[in-house]
């Protein structure tokens, strides 16, 4: 059974598979170029306080992402 989420809603340490990016062409292109592609595994490593950014691992690339940008990335988790 899979559950659909967005990347920003994952808990720390939770892993998920990216299923899509809902954003304008430019933004989607940018996020894809940084490794956020459908089918890749993503994990939240840590979350900054006060609504600060997320530390995300995608494959073997570590990224800092603002939560607003992470909201555009849909993922599914094996529940």
């Amino acid at each position: 059974m899979h559950e659909q989420h967005t990347l920003n809603s994952l808990r720390k340490g939770q892993r998920a598979v990216i299923t899509g990016i809902e954003a304008s062409d430019g933004l989607r292109h940018r996020l894809q170029a940084m490794g956020l592609r459908t089918g890749r595994e993503a994990e939240i490593i840590r979350q900054a306080h006060l609504g600060g950014p997320l530390h995300v691992r995608v494959g073997n690339v570590h990224l800092i992402m603002r939560r607003a940008d992470a909201r555009r990335v849909s993922v599914h988790t094996a529940a």
Binding site: R30, A48, G51, G52, P53, V61, L63
Partner: protein, 595 residues
């Protein structure tokens, strides 16, 4: 001459590779079709003389970011014989598409798998021959940091360059349009040629991050680090600056003074007090720029700068800035000039311009000298620290207000997604080269403008020639009187207005100008000021000095970095307006309260 372009993603060690290839010979240059500075160098490679250009780090050739557009524009407007693609060997699944894109455009290509030592350490095995067949170009394992594999890399470049012909620009333009499923092809290629453990374990980085990004201790540690870096740069810098000043003074006394008897007075003044002092102003920045970039290179190359961005983003994003802006803003409290140059790490132009607009409000050490003098003259020892503290707060508030106001125009459209590279020990050679490159960049771009500014102020304060230099009847004095209706309402008299003209050159001259004008020094000058100004006037004057205009060197750097006079105009106009309004509000507020 053949042309070789180096392309790669950010954090691949592309610049390290470039520096190892070109050494200290590289310098920034202008290129057709693009508006940012690129480092380039000329050197013999094999039997050819080649021009090597380091293009900005990009993730994708077809992307929309500022840097991606720069790289496309460069390739479309400058014929290139060979493209060297530098990839991070530990992230080939992520990085290979870029190499395929370049190859698909038809460029003669050599691929460098950099950080080969790290990849080996992490248990990644790479079949370079399979990759070479798949991409259709030579593939070399190399470590630009340690130099292993570098002779082979040079050999591969020389061989490829010997047969290379420049690609027709038309065909580049035509080919830049489509993107033929490079990701899928890259994935298949990586599957066949790379043997890597699933998730790479970097124990040291994970351990360090647990401390440095700790929910509670992360921020205090960040401020402590910044404090130490700041202290290191400016406490080491101060004696060096004094040394440079001493050398310049000695030269002036021993070599230039005797000329005064030979040359007509005005010519001597122009040459020595105009041009020579202008050169001196430029020279005084050299030690602090070198030191600043030594330490910034360490902070950046170690991977800590992106951690700082992570820690400060929650706060800074509300002001339209990011954590790296904050680091530069903090560093600006020592000197604005290197801090402005440091904004080059930000790759979005809008974000960079916004940060450059904000940095001049940082209360730099030159302004601190003025404030220390004035607070000692006009306030009790108990009050003086509070006054200084208030000025620091105001400095910060002005910066944040500027960000909020200007951020509406300079909307930063790029998503905030940054790579967090693993921690790496900085390499001394790289750190030294960085300091050297930045200083030569500064000298190259800002010298003329700074000297022109100093000469202009000399002309204003020494003409008409019949008047006492700096006196009320020189052009500067006239400007002072002209400014009276504007400066009067904020409690600044004509005499002080002239001082402000000097302050445009460098804030530390302000006290010197007061000395020249009153003929008094030290305690006597303090006494004079205490008689001629009350504390409200002095405070208003200090507020104005804090905000009114970036110094000529800061402006020169803003111009060089933004490549726009319009931007400099906005910066000066906004500073003057904000300074006047703030001083006005303070002056009349205090008077209304009965002070």
């Amino acid at each position: 001459m053949k042309r070789l372009a180096i392309v790669g993603m950010p954090n691949t060690g592309k610049s390290t590779f470039f520096n190892r290839l070109t050494g200290a010979s590289s310098r920034v240059g202008n290129w057709p079709g693009i508006t940012v500075d690129l480092y380039g160098a000329q050197l013999p490679i094999g039997s050819d003389l080649a021009q090597v250009v380091d293009l900005p780090g990009i993730y994708d050739l077809h992307g929309f970011s500022d840097d991606e557009q720069v790289v496309r524009a460069f390739l479309e407007n400058n014929p290139v014989d060979l493209v060297v693609v530098v990839l991070n060997a530990t992230q080939l699944d992520h990085q290979l598409p870029l190499a395929l894109q370049i190859r698909d455009l038809g460029f003669n290509t050599v691929v460098m798998l950099n950080m080969a030592d790290e990849a080996q350490h992490l248990g990644i095995r790479i079949d370079t021959e399979a990759l070479a067949r798949g991409i259709g170009c030579p593939v070399v394992l190399v470590s630009a940091r340690r130099g292993s594999g570098f002779p082979e890399a040079q050999q591969a470049i020389a061989t490829a360059l010997a047969d290379a012909r420049p690609l027709q620009l038309d065909s580049v333009r035509a080919a830049l349009a489509p993107d033929d499923r490079v990701v899928e092809r890259a994935e298949a290629l990586v599957k066949g040629a790379v043997d890597a453990p699933g998730v790479l374990v970097r124990r040291t980085t994970e351990r360090l991050d647990r401390i440095l990004l700790h929910p509670v201790f992360g921020l205090p540690l960040f401020f402590l680090t910044m404090f130490l870096v700041f202290q290191a740069v400016y406490t080491l810098g101060a004696p060096l600056q004094d040394g440079v000043a001493w050398l310049l003074d000695e030269f002036r006394a021993l070599a230039l003074k005797p000329l005064a008897g030979v040359l007509p007075g005005m010519l001597y003044g122009f040459l020595v007090e105009g041009i020579y002092d202008g050169v001196g102003t430029v020279a005084s920045f050299v030690p602090v720029i070198i030191l600043f970039f030594f330490f910034m290179a360490v902070v950046e190359d170690s991977g800590y700068l992106s951690r700082a961005a992570f820690l400060m983003d929650a706060l800074m994003s509300r002001f339209g800035l990011d954590g790296r802006s904050f680091v530069m803003l903090l560093m600006g409290f020592g000197c604005n000039v290197p801090a402005l140059m440091g904004t080059r790490v930000m790759r979005s132009r809008a974000l960079r311009l916004l940060t450059m607009l904000v940095i001049p409000f940082s209360l730099c050490s030159a302004r601190l000298q003025v404030f220390l003098f004035l607070t000692t003259a006009l306030f009790t020892p108990r009050q003086a620290p509070l006054v200084l503290f208030a000025l620091y707060l105001l400095s910060f508030a002005a910066a944040m207000l500027t960000a909020l106001v200007a951020g509406r125009r300079l909307r930063n459209n790029e998503p905030f997604v940054l790579e967090m590279p693993p921690y790496r020990a900085p390499i001394p050679r790289q750190v030294l080269l960085r300091g050297w490159h930045e200083v030569s960049h500064f000298l190259h771009r800002a010298t003329k403008f700074i000297i022109a500014g100093v000469v202009l102020v000399w002309l204003l304060t020494n003409f008409p020639a019949s008047e006492v230099p700096g006196g009320p009847d020189t052009f500067a004095g006239m400007l002072g009187r002209l400014a009276e209706p504007v400066l009067g309402p904020i409690g600044i008299g004509a005499e002080m207005a002239v001082v402000l003209v000097f302050g445009f050159v460098a804030k530390e001259i302000i006290i010197g100008a007061m000395v020249a004008m009153t003929g008094l020094q030290g305690d006597a000058l303090m006494g004079y000021l205490a008689q001629h100004m009350d504390w409200v006037q002095a405070m208003s004057f200090m507020i104005f000095v804090l905000l009114y205009t970036p110094c000529v060197s800061t402006l020169a750097t803003q111009r060089a970095e933004a490549r726009s006079w319009g931007f400099v105009g906005v910066s000066v106009g906004w500073s003057l307006g904000l300074a006047w309004l703030t001083s006005f509000a303070f002056y009349h507020g205090a008077r209304l309260l009965g002070y």
